[in-house]
Amino acid sequence: MLLFESLRKNYEGTDAVNIDRMEIPAGQKFGLVGNNGAGKTTLFRLILDLIKPTDGVVWSKGVDVRRTEEWKLYTGSYLDEGFLIDFLTAEEYFYFIGSLHGFSKHEVDERLVRYHPLFNNAILGQKKYIRDLSKGNQKKVGITAALLFEPEILILDEPFANLDPTTIFRLKNLLNEINEQQNVTMLISSHDLMHVTDVCKRIVVLEAGKIIQDKFTDQGTLKELETYFSA
């Protein structure tokens, strides 16, 4: 599904991302962990063609993401508030995103039903602009918008941060469910080792842009990661 080849992003002499080769097969739940500045967000931005790689290529379904915009048709993403149009209400935003994919308002409403448990009645029908929502609720809007059109690839940066425990629990279930039903390829970064090992089948540890570990999760993974990061 995704293939990185000699991918490098250099900021003023230091490599923020430096990956020789890595492949993410379709349907994989891929977790990215690492400390601040390890290059997680940079990698995601490279996949979304938001920054220009110093070197190398991101192949999405065999096509260079920089060459065409086709990946936009099947890639849903939410990295930060820069993705939200914050002067719209949540509904207006969902309708807008929906319209980009050719959904009518009615269809958007139908698709939203599935996410109502996440919203906890604090998102829809509020007559509030997104900028007036709390950080957690903004995140819910962003994640929902990324999921709305049932993408084949889903990219979420720190999806569990700022969320309340109930929502985290529901979001994890939702992600697992979507992955099982629709075989969505998921790329999730997180500082929270427990949540990310709960959801992801494969964990990659980044440090200074390089892949330090790359493994499939089993019962011991969380312990191993904890040992690694506490060292």
Binding site: L50, I51, K72, G82, F83, L84, I85, F87, F96, L100
Partner: protein, 489 residues
């Protein structure tokens, strides 16, 4: 004691604001500009009796001036409605401290006295009262009375915007009333100016009446005070502000697919933020440029200047709003890039916004055609050139290092987000049509030259797809730089 603390905090807030620190040169320029404005106002203040004598030869200057005051206060209210901020959010950090709420409120309300709106008029009224009215006791009470009304306006608008409505429609209703009174006055049915002369004449005839204007001021102050005191819990006030959102539908536009959706989005952006709204409002002023220049007899011969005026008049909105083409979206540019919007659609939507607004400006300024066929021709050709060529030129030039914009600050004297592109933008926009015209002017074919400008614009409209493709290629190469700049803030 407390007041002193609050004052120093306010001062620090102003000095340490990112806008102020970033660009010293621009601050100096703003300073010079402000000084220039003050000098202008002072000159006007000292000469206003002469102007009054010329415009209203049969009445004495003081009566005539008093007659205009009610209109002045009306205009004052109108512009305050759009430009004056409600001082509210900065009190949050003090609410949980052992500080008396009443003193915070008094501070908040008194702070708003030191605003350009309240200070600038003094440069007219003080010289007038001194020179024309001779600096007597009557002059002093007159001045005091007027000062009270200016400040009363200040508090009235704070009250209206905070508690009643900040919807532009309110101002629309007000503008209609204003126009109604003005036309009744001009047609001698009901003279608001006579009422105004009488009322403000009272201040001179019976100095004690100054108490009345002071009472008005005090009442409005007290009204703000009482209501603020009841609502000082921050979340209540914010909830109030939030619920007054302008939720509206542009159902018609959504029929035009993605481009329509993007145009709709941009319209919401304009309506829901202070800065683009005031830019749009200011651009209305440019529409009146024609009144000054198209009419002036000694400029009539100089087609060069008239071409310039034509570009300004029909491009009023496009030029002032377009100087930040991409920056308006700076806070969600990543979202635009990663969502299912092709760059081509994105650019096309922008081009269409410009073409639509240029057309609206053209239609609104059609009456200038009454000033002569030459004017009509110039206006039409300038319109075509704006729509066909300048719309692309703006999108091209502004893609050069745009900066992140803060959308909720007013636009007057706001240089946040202004870069080189904004300074050089006007050069090609105005120079290119004139360059096209020069060869014809030398050959003595003035009219043909003007038509040529229009023709080039028309060609631009026909070749729109090609121009869009060129822009897309440019933005495709530049988008990483744009996005990175917007992220930094």
């Amino acid at each position: 004691m407390l007041t002193r603390w609050l004052l120093t905090h306010q001062l620090k807030e102003a000095i340490r604001s990112s806008v102020f620190q970033k660009n010293l040169v621009i601050n100096i320029l703003v300073g010079i500009f402000a000084l220039y404005m003050i000098v202008n106002l002072l000159v006007a203040g000292f000469l206003i009796d002469r102007i009054m004598e010329q415009v209203f030869p049969e009445t004495d200057p003081v009566t005539a001036f008093n007659g205009l005051l009610l209109y002045y206060f009306g205009l004052d209210l109108f512009s305050r409605f759009f430009l004056q901020k409600i001082p509210v959010l900065s009190i949050q950090p003090y609410l949980h401290l052992p500080v008396r709420r009443t003193s915070i409120i008094h501070f908040l309300l008194l702070k708003s006295v030191f605003k350009l709106f309240n200070i600038l008029p003094l440069f007219i009224f003080v010289p007038f009262s001194y020179k024309v009215m001779g600096g007597t006791v009557e002059a002093a009470t007159w001045l005091a009375g007027i000062l009270c009304i200016i400040l009363a306006n200040n508090y009235l608008i704070t009250y209206v915007k905070r508690h009643l409505s900040d919807h532009p429609l309110t101002a629309g209703v007000f503008a209609i009333l204003f126009a109604l009174f003005l036309s009744l006055d001009v047609s001698d049915i009901f003279g608001l100016s006579e009422v105004s002369s009488y009322l403000f004449g009272l201040l001179i005839a019976y100095p004690a009446t100054v108490v009345v204007s002071f009472a008005i001021l005090l009442t409005l102050y007290q009204l703000n005070f009482v209501i603020l005191k009841m609502n000082l819990q921050l979340d209540i006030m914010q909830a109030e502000i939030r619920s007054k959102s302008t939720l509206m539908n542009f159902a018609l536009l959504s029929r035009f697919g993605q481009i329509g959706e993007l145009i709709m989005l941009e319209m919401k952006l304009i309506l829901r933020h202070k800065r683009p709204k005031s830019v749009a409002l200011f651009s209305v002023l440019f529409l009146f440029y024609g009144l000054i220049f198209y009419q002036s007899p000694n400029l009539q011969d100089s087609t060069f200047i008239l071409i310039f005026v034509g570009i300004v008049v029909t491009g009023a909105f496009m030029i002032s709003y377009g100087q930040f083409s991409y920056s308006w979206e700076s806070s969600f540019f990543d979202g635009i890039l990663s969502n299912r919007i092709s760059l081509e659609t994105y650019i096309k939507a922008k081009v269409w916004i410009y073409i639509i607004t240029v057309s609206i400006c053209y239609i609104v300024t059609l009456p200038y055609a009454f000033m002569g066929t030459e004017i009509a021709l110039i206006n039409t050709c300038a319109f075509l050139f704006n729509a066909g060529i300048n719309s692309f030129m703006i999108l091209l030039i502004t893609s050069f290092k745009p900066k992140r914009l803060e959308l909720n600050k007013g636009s007057a004297f706001n240089f946040q987000g202004v870069g080189i592109a904004q300074y050089i933008l006007s050069i090609p926009i105005f120079l290119l049509p004139i360059c096209l015209y020069i060869p014809f002017a030398i050959a003595g074919l003035n009219q043909a030259g003007v038509i040529f400008i229009g023709l080039v614009g028309f060609m631009g409209l026909i070749m729109q797809d090609v121009l869009v493709k060129l822009l897309v290629a440019r933005i495709k190469a530049k988008k990483y730089v744009l996005a990175a700049g917007f992220r930094q803030g």
